[in-house]
């Protein structure tokens, strides 16, 4: 099997030859190539070189154009830029610090600036470079992430209660923007679109169900309609919203380390493909090949048949290489049949 066939097998409920291995790498991949992270996210050729080199070095089954903020950058949001780490939103100067500015944002179909265009070119180049061997993953921001970038995280959390109508309008805008961005990446060759929406894990189940879920569902359905698989990445503690996430119909759902995989599997059901969830710092960076092997053995018992090897979130930049090799060796030496019955 090629990597692409292996991952598709798990997503469609078929038997792969062994476990797929798909950790998220951003700053780590830039370090592998020896470039600053800012260059990595501003130049798709650099990002693609970093992704391919990292995937080859550690035996990943996918390459990705994951990087936050493209949509917000093209809308003119104010970021604090750093040379070698992710940019941070300047909340005091947020694009929508004044809520009325939402009505003055350009139409989502006219927002396609240099940053989003660069990311689409990245997908195109990845497809050319890896052919059909590896999964090519595109990426969009989910409605909560966009809203946090546009409005500020603290304001958004308060807005959920103070002004739910505004939040709904903001999410409508974000989903329209993400749908168009995803469609362009799918047309460029993406097999799967990751939706990154970490702030969703900060709210309770009722708020998620009533105020976020409908927009996640709309985006998931739109990506499917455009012909790609969907991965939902909500890091943090999603235990209380996983039962609702299950109803979204995602092809792959990330589980971060705060959620015991056994609970995640019970909540998501046996048919949902899950990915994760070693702790990126405590298990993967601070662990050893032996401890990682032991943790993954335990994890796969609860992960079940439709489970992909990865950390719960991004591989941190100073992770020992031997630990990532240990994860690869585990994945390549285990099949779904390794699960004890």
């Amino acid at each position: 099997m090629t990597s692409r066939e292996r991952v598709f097998a798990v997503l469609s409920g078929q038997q792969p030859d062994h476990r797929p291995y798909m950790p998220i790498t951003m700053m780590f991949a830039a370090d592998i190539l020896g470039v600053k992270y800012l260059q990595n996210i501003r130049d798709h050729k650099t990002m693609i070189a970093a992704q391919i080199k990292t995937a080859e070095m550690f035996g990943f089954d996918h390459v990705s154009t994951i990087a936050p903020t493209s949509e917000a950058v093209d809308l003119g949001a104010h970021f604090q830029w750093f040379d070698d780490q992710p940019p941070g939103i300047i909340e005091q100067e947020a694009l929508l610090a004044d809520k009325s500015a939402l009505t003055r944002l350009p139409s989502p179909d006219s927002v396609f600036g240099a940053s989003m265009e660069d990311r689409v070119r990245g997908v195109e180049l990845l497809r050319q470079r890896v052919g059909n061997d590896l999964i090519v993953e595109g990426w969009v921001e989910g409605p909560c992430s966009d809203a946090a970038d546009f409005r500020g995280m603290n304001r958004l959390m308060i807005d959920f209660s103070d002004d739910p109508e505004f939040v709904a309008h903001l999410f409508e805008y974000s989903v329209e923007l993400a749908t168009r961005f995803a469609a362009a990446q799918i047309a460029a060759g993406a097999d799967i679109i990751g939706i990154g929406d970490p702030p969703s894990s900060l709210v309770g189940p009722r708020m998620y169900r009533e105020q976020i879920w409908p927009f996640h569902k709309k985006l998931v359905d739109a990506i499917h309609a455009n012909g790609a698989k969907v991965r939902l990445h909500v890091c943090g503690n999603t235990r209380r919203i996983l039962a609702d996430i299950r109803r979204l119909g995602c092809d792959l759902v990330d589980v971060d380390s705060p959620v015991p995989m056994e609970q995640a599997r019970a909540l998501a059901g046996p048919a949902q493909a899950l990915i994760g969830n070693l702790d990126p710092v405590r298990d993967v960076r601070n662990g050893s090949p032996e401890s990682i092997q032991e943790s993954l053995e335990a994890l796969q018992q609860s992960g079940g048949e439709r489970w992909i090897v990865a950390a719960g979130c991004e591989i941190v930049r100073d992770t020992p290489h031997e630990n990532l090799h240990a994860m690869r060796m585990f994945a390549q030496s285990h099949t779904a049949e390794s699960v004890a019955t």
Binding site: Q85, P87, F160, S161, R285, V316
Partner: protein, 212 residues
């Protein structure tokens, strides 16, 4: 000590307008600011913290409760300043240099303030010399440092080193927190403690101040 049920409920329900109005009315009726803090606000935020720990409240509810508490404190602070009343424990808190993430720090600051401590929140992306200046100005017993990114964790050590170089380290306890931070890391960089939760931070502050 008499509890103002109205103030307690307003904070618990995250109703800032009601918290302000109830506090105003209580003061007009002769309530002492410190009684309102210890009798109503601290118990309310204790309950908010408990509900957060048991996953009945989440980040929005905690921020709303914090906002309600602040709206009451806005009325109490000037009165306390005039009468010379001071909260016993003072804390300087901030997200370290290079890290723009402040929601975790804000949750901790709210819980600390709601526990009856005086909190000086320096915000996000705070340079070490700003922590030094804040310690010199406010004379806190505790400094809390937050980081969400592994790449900004070294700024915690730099901040501690700068506090040491300024001759302030022995006067304060330094506590750290944030998703990638561990107890082991706290030991490695010479911090006095680490907490993985907002309510844990409250207990830790009480503990290190009691031990000092």
């Amino acid at each position: 000590m008499i509890r103002s049920e109205g103030l307690y409920d307003a904070i618990l329900n995250g109703d800032a307008k009601k918290a302000h109005a109830v506090t105003e009315a209580a003061l007009a009726a002769g309530a002492a600011p410190m009684d309102l803090i210890t009798g109503s606000m601290v118990p309310a935020m204790d309950e908010v913290g408990r509900l957060f720990e048991t996953e009945e409240y989440f980040v929005p509810e905690l921020l709303l409760a914090g906002r309600a508490m602040k709206s009451a404190m806005e009325l109490l602070r000037p009165l306390m300043a005039m009468s010379g009343e001071k909260l016993a424990i003072r804390i300087v808190i901030g997200t370290v240099k290079g890290d723009m993430h402040d929601i975790g720090k804000n949750l901790v600051a709210s819980m600390l303030e709601g526990s009856g401590f005086e909190v000086f929140d320096l915000g996000a992306d705070v340079a070490p010399d700003k922590f030094v200046a804040a310690v010199e100005e406010h004379k806190p017993q505790v400094v809390c440092l937050s980081a969400l990114l592994t790449v900004t964790m070294p700024a915690m050590k730099r901040t501690i080193d700068v506090l040491q170089a300024a001759g302030l380290r022995s006067q304060i306890k330094v506590l750290i927190g944030g998703a990638p931070v561990t107890g082991q890391y706290a030991k490695e960089i010479g911090a006095d403690g680490y907490s993985d939760s907002a309510s844990g931070a409250v207990s830790l502050v009480r503990q290190v101040v009691a031990e000092a």
